[in-house]
């Protein structure tokens, strides 16, 4: 059976075709889900891809959270469906209240597009289920607002509940506790700033992203 991946598309999203390409190379069936649609078409996995939804003019993800499709995503997530927010998608999931915390401007006040080394902090999430804790992955980042922050109590619970799933080996953006990705309490909603879809082919310099995306496909089928 093939996992069906739904990739959300807001006006201003720009990584949707890349996400589809990467998942299709891994054997998934993909479809675009327009932000104005209230239905997820019974997909197995929802990807909120990177880009600049609604231009990010107000605050990253601030307008996207109100799109009709996000209500459907909330219902899907509450039922345990796997939802992965990549970059702008992570920002949207935070604004939508599906993940705690927020992403502020990089500490260096510059956009950063570069390869980073990540350490799998927890293998207990839909994103990292095929990886091992402590595993190192080379996956690029591409953001201006990737500096994860949250209050002390939230950080303490993220740490004690093993919900930090990815950390940077060398923190590029000032993110608290070197956080690159976190999951919700149900471990089925994950947000990460790095772009695994950009690291799935040898020609593009790394295949480490496929470790994460394959895990998503496997849990998507089980869901």
């Amino acid at each position: 059976m093939t996992t069906r991946v739904g990739v959300l598309q807001f006006p201003g999203t720009n990584c949707e075709l890349d996400a589809i390409h990467a998942f299709e190379v891994l054997g998934a069936d993909c479809e675009l889900l327009w932000h104005g649609s209230a239905s997820l078409n019974n997909v197995d996995v929802v990807i909120v891809p990177g880009g600049f939804a609604h231009g990010d003019y107000l605050r990253t993800g601030a307008i996207a959270q109100f799109s009709p499709v996000m209500d459907a995503v909330r219902v899907f997530a509450a039922a345990g469906g796997p939802v992965i927010g990549i970059c702008n998608g992570f920002q949207i999931l935070c604004e939508a209240g599906l993940l705690p915390g927020a992403l502020q401007k990089n500490a260096g006040m510059k956009f950063r597009c570069e390869m980073t080394e990540l350490i799998v902090a927890s293998a207990r999430s839909v994103l990292t289920s095929d990886a091992e804790a402590g595993q190192r992955l080379c996956i690029p980042i591409n953001h201006f607002e990737g500096n994860y922050t949250c209050d002390a109590a939230t950080l303490a619970s993220l740490q004690s509940e093993d919900r930090i799933v990815l950390r940077y080996a060398m923190n590029p953006n000032g993110s608290i506790d070197d956080i690159a990705g976190i999951c919700n309490e149900g471990r089925n909603v994950v947000g990460l700033m790095p772009h695994p879809e950009r690291a799935c082919e040898t020609l593009l310099g790394s295949t480490d992203g496929a470790v994460l995306l394959r895990g998503v496909l496997a849990t998507g089928l089980r869901h």
Binding site: F52, E201, L203
Partner: protein, 781 residues
């Protein structure tokens, strides 16, 4: 008969008396205010190429694979597999000098529209940048603003910036150059041209509302008397909206894909006036245009302002009436404003009305008037406010401007830096400090600080990103890939514009060959000073001839370009700065091409010959301020052989790494290779102290050289191939270790003879990497 007020107006608009007479001759009467404004922008240097046109005709523009040559929004070439690429380069120099962030951002936005107006999805940007020295605070402000503007707009609009250049030279202090190259990908059948055909077809304006920004362009209307008061002071630099542009891209691509439009043109210089009249003229048609249908940002705008505004993020689509509803539906889905503003007819005339379409029943509705404006009053017998032959706007005057070889050029040529430098740097002097000053000079220093701010990976095509000789983009669904390089070297052109232009074309083609690609097309951005100075026009003419000769010899055409004149400040012209973008094609990309790094255990082979050629070099001109002499020789025949050789070595996978030898010469090139791979080298010099000194061997910028890293068991093959190709090749270094060592000739093993330089790789690399970031370090605390 021209009355006094008309004379005053045409001069304010930047037109000569002769040009006004030509307009009167064309119309058979005095022009209206709007007509005069339209002719003044359309016949401006920027839109009409009136000074450059006679020269540009000498460029070679044809090849069997060219689908669209110069004159359209972009040049288009066939790359096989049913695919084509659209390419263009533009300058946004003056806006960036006034407001660096928005100047650069709108430059990016404009060139992207040129590309998707051809039916192509824009997939790559590159930015050749030229600034003054970074020790000047204002230059740092301009540079940082331009980089942020490219990053802010390009990343958000969703087109990756895959390469470019940054060059720093005093001549750009008052007039930086911001050139932007864009490439788009399309299927052959999706090619769209900016042509309005079909009597009764509708012109639909898509995108942003029209404001008073950039009316007529700063140079034409800087002191126009159209409106008294505050509006006059409004900045003439437009403000970019990448989100609007992103939606416009997606909406237009969907319109093409569903074959809902006949033709499309972007709105750039001269705004609606240019787009509407040009599309009509190209189709041999006419157009009635209703200014009342244009969405406005602010109240009180008159037809002159509406027709000549350069508000960003707008496109004009030609639509058959039967498709109008479908077009409006696509626009609505992408939240793109769409209004019927014109109707194509077979009159051959471009007529502008104000409030006429409702009365005669053209479909579509008037936009809501901006707050403060009354509703449009319709009238069925309206007189046009402009009525001109559509073709006449694009058929402006052409000037054969006087040419003059600069009077001091012989003096400059005789002022060769070699003699002075030989006196100062005789063999035996340690050149380590000289090398360090080159490696930390911003033109040569690590540019990661710049390109790290650009998304260079979107669309999953980028096999080789910024920092190499050429950027390599795979074409998904095929075995093919594109290699892209931009280059320019103004100091060579200042010394000898014809040779300089050849050297630039050769370098770009060499960069593309280093990726294993065959060069297929070139676009040029010709940045020059004031064309009314005969020396500038002579430089321009020589550059065109040099570029023509190089393109003809190397076998690829010029498929588009842009001329930017009047790059001068305080009476001083910039050095003549042609920049070029070359597109190469790789037929079968089976793996990532070899990097610019060294491979430990390999031998280092230098292809080509090093001569004492320091004129215009980084070392002579930047490190030592010696700007005279002649540029290196441009041997086109050797270039053809070298490129073929290098391409085949790459394609046949015989190399561990390779790097084009250019700025800073051989020593800098090999150090850059060491930095890319963290592997050192021990080079054996061959300078004889007579024809060539150690310093000249290190820093001379002779053309036609490439440095190779070759596995020991491939050395024989590589040398034999070079011999067969007639290209000089020598094994010159062992590769490995953690030091950068250049042994002195001839006794390279004598422990009493100190090396030319012997430096610690890690230390020097850190200095090279930190040179630019250190200039922009955040204040601590």
């Amino acid at each position: 008969m021209t009355d006094a007020s008309t004379v005053a107006l045409h001069r304010q608009l930047g037109m000569t008396d002769d040009e006004l007479d030509a307009v009167i001759g064309e119309l058979g009467r005095n022009p209206t205010h709007l007509e005069l404004a339209m002719y003044s922008v359309m016949w401006s240097e920027h839109c009409s190429y009136k000074s450059s046109k006679p020269h540009l005709r000498r460029l070679p523009t044809e090849a069997p694979w060219v689908m669209v040559g110069p004159g359209e929004g972009a040049g288009v070439i066939d790359v096989g597999d049913g695919l084509a690429v659209a390419v263009r380069i533009e300058s946004h120099n003056h806006p960036s000098a006034v407001e660096p962030y928005q100047g650069a951002a709108t430059g990016v936005g404009g060139i992207i529209r040129d590309i998707f107006s051809m039916g192509a999805r824009p997939i790559a940007l590159m930015d050749p940048l030229r600034f003054g020295n970074l020790d000047d605070a204002r230059t740092r402000y301009l540079f940082e603003g331009v980089v942020s503007g490219i990053s802010g707009y390009g990343n958000s609009v969703g087109v990756p910036t895959v390469g470019g250049e940054a060059v720093f030279d005093d001549c750009y202090k008052g007039n930086p150059l911001v050139n932007v190259f864009c490439l788009g990908l399309l299927r052959h059948e999706d090619l769209v041209l900016a042509i309005a055909t079909g009597d009764g077809n509708l012109a639909v304006l898509l995108g942003s509302a029209t404001g008073r920004d950039g009316i007529g362009g700063a140079s034409v209307l800087a002191s126009a008397g159209f409106a008294e008061g505050a509006e006059q002071k409004r900045p003439s630099v437009q403000v970019g909206d990448p989100f609007e542009e992103k939606r416009l891209i997606e909406a237009c691509l969907e319109l093409y894909n569903r074959k809902l439009v006949v033709g499309v043109q972007d709105l750039g210089a001269a705004g609606i006036c240019c787009a509407a009249s040009e599309t009509a003229a190209k189709g041999g048609m006419g157009m009635d245009f209703d200014a009342a249908r244009v969405s406005r940002r602010e109240p009180g705008m008159n037809p002159v302002e509406l027709l000549t505004s350069e508000s960003q993020e707008r496109m004009l689509a030609i639509v058959e009436p039967a498709q109008l509803d479908a077009v409006l539906e696509v626009a609505q889905r992408w939240e793109v404003r769409a209004t019927v503003v014109g109707r194509v007819n077979d009159s051959g005339r471009f007529r502008v009305f104000d409030g006429y379409f409702d009365a005669i029943g053209v479909p579509g509705a008037n936009p809501m008037p901006p707050p403060g404006d009354a509703a449009i009053v319709c009238t069925s017998d309206a007189e046009p406010v402009a009525d001109v032959p559509a073709a006449s706007l694009g058929d402006g005057p052409v000037y054969q401007r006087p040419l003059a070889r600069p009077a001091n050029l012989d003096v400059v040529h005789n002022d060769d830096p070699a003699a002075k430098l030989r006196a100062q740097f005789a063999d035996g002097v340690d050149l380590g400090e000289e090398l360090l000053s080159l490696l930390t000079s911003p033109t040569i220093a690590d540019k990661s600080w710049i390109f790290r701010q650009f998304d260079h990976q979107l669309f999953l095509n980028t096999v080789v990103g910024p920092g190499g000789d050429a950027s390599v983009l795979r074409l998904k669904g095929t075995t093919k890939a594109l290699a892209l390089a931009t280059d320019g070297k103004a100091r060579f052109c200042k010394l000898d514009p014809r040779t300089g232009a050849q050297l630039i074309v050769m370098e770009a083609a060499r960069n593309v060959a280093c990726a294993g690609a065959v060069p297929k097309a070139l676009v040029n951005c010709l940045n020059f000073g004031n064309p009314e100075h005969p020396e500038v026009m002579w430089e321009f003419s020589e550059v065109v001839d040099g570029m023509s000769a190089a393109c003809a010899a190397l076998g690829f055409p010029v498929i588009g370009g842009n001329v930017s004149f009047y790059n001068e400040s305080r009476g001083a012209n910039i050095d003549p700065t042609p920049t070029v973008g070359v597109v190469g094609l790789i037929d079968d990309l089976i793996a990532v091409p070899p990097s610019i790094g060294l491979r430990a255990g390999d031998a280092l082979i230098v292809l080509g010959t090093t001569q004492a050629e320091l004129g215009g070099s980084e070392w002579a001109a930047v490190t030592h301020g010696l700007r005279g002499g002649r540029p290196p020789q441009a041997d086109l025949e050797t270039a053809v052989a070298l490129h073929e050789l290098v391409r085949n070595l790459v394609v046949d996978r015989l190399l561990g790494g390779l790097h084009d030898c250019s700025d800073g010469g051989l020593a800098v090139t090999i150090c850059e290779m060491a930095f890319a791979s963290d592997v050192g080298f021990e080079f054996r010099g061959t300078a004889d102290g007579v024809l060539l000194t150690d310093a000249e061997e290190c820093f001379s910028e002779s053309a036609n050289r490439v440095v190779l890293s070759v596995a020991p068991d491939q050395i024989g093959t590589v040398l034999a191939r070079a011999r067969a190709a007639g290209v000089a090749a020598e094994v010159r270094a062992t590769i490995g270790g953690s030091r950068l060592v250049w042994r002195r000739s001839p006794d390279d093993r004598d422990p009493d003879i100190r090396p030319v330089f012997d430096l610690d790789l890690a230390t020097v690399k850190t200095q090279w990497s930190n040179a630019i970031p250190a200039l922009f370090a955040q204040p601590s605390g």
